[in-house]
Amino acid sequence: MSVTKKFTYINRKAPYGSVYALESLEVVLIGAAFEQEVQLVFVDDGVYQLTKGQSTDGIGMKNFSKTYAALGDYDVNQIYVCEQSLADRGLTLDDLQALTYEDEDDDWAEKSSMNLVNREQLADLISDADVLLNF
């Protein structure tokens, strides 16, 4: 299976309240083993998935937010966050986990995986995708 496609995951929903964020992350982690190009987009309430300091103690749900920090180890390092969605919710990049990866082409230097994108860039990401998965 030598075909390489661009898999783009659009995450649109808050981390709790529905199962989509968790089951999206499960696809991403499994998919990482297939050595495809992977892009993760966080838009609308999906930006809440990456917020720091999540606690689920009061709602009886599994807190899976720490798993995002492992994405870099799975070579998932193209993370795109919609800046308008952040602004609409009174959030900035500082409110989100600073996801990083180690660049094997640059002596394993630690680099940021996080990219702020506007609506136009978001549209380009979507039109450039080979396989688009919405969650």
Binding site: V3, F7, V19, E23, G31
Partner: protein, 130 residues
């Protein structure tokens, strides 16, 4: 064209599984290939054989099973999503100490890798349901 189908909603509450079925049937009738149908999220609930809708209504699971029988379709239910929602084949039921399996004919349980592979192999991945 070679299609792969992903279904994210269960039967009856939403029309997504019906629409996916109609699309798949039409695609096959028009000479297209369906590489795989992958059931995810609540979509795994399409794969239980214990649904008994009224006789004057359609049986979504039976429609899929019959279509798969006729066209040798690969109907795959995501194992992780299925375990959460109680969809099991005999092996799974035994492994988890459950009394009986409920997977419908022509459906099989497998991993998320099957969805990724479908995305790679098919020319278009069609997603039905939220």
């Amino acid at each position: 064209m070679k299609f792969a189908i992903q279904i994210n909603e269960g039967p009856f509450t939403h029309q997504a599984a019906d629409t996916a079925y109609q699309f798949t049937k039409a695609a096959l009738e028009n000479g297209h290939e369906i590489f795989r149908v992958f059931f995810y999220h609540d979509g795994v609930n399409n794969g239980t054989m214990y649904g008994v809708p009224p006789q004057d209504d359609r049986n979504v699971q039976a429609l899929w099973s019959d279509l798969a029988e006729k066209h040798d379709l690969d109907l795959v239910v995501c194992v992780a999503a299925a375990q959460r929602r109680g969809i099991m084949d005999e092996d799974e039921a035994k492994r988890h100490g459950k009394g009986a399996s409920n997977i419908a004919p022509k459906f099989r349980i497998s991993g998320l890798g099957q969805l990724i592979e479908a995305g790679i192999q098919a020319e278009r991945l069609m997603v039905f349901g939220d």
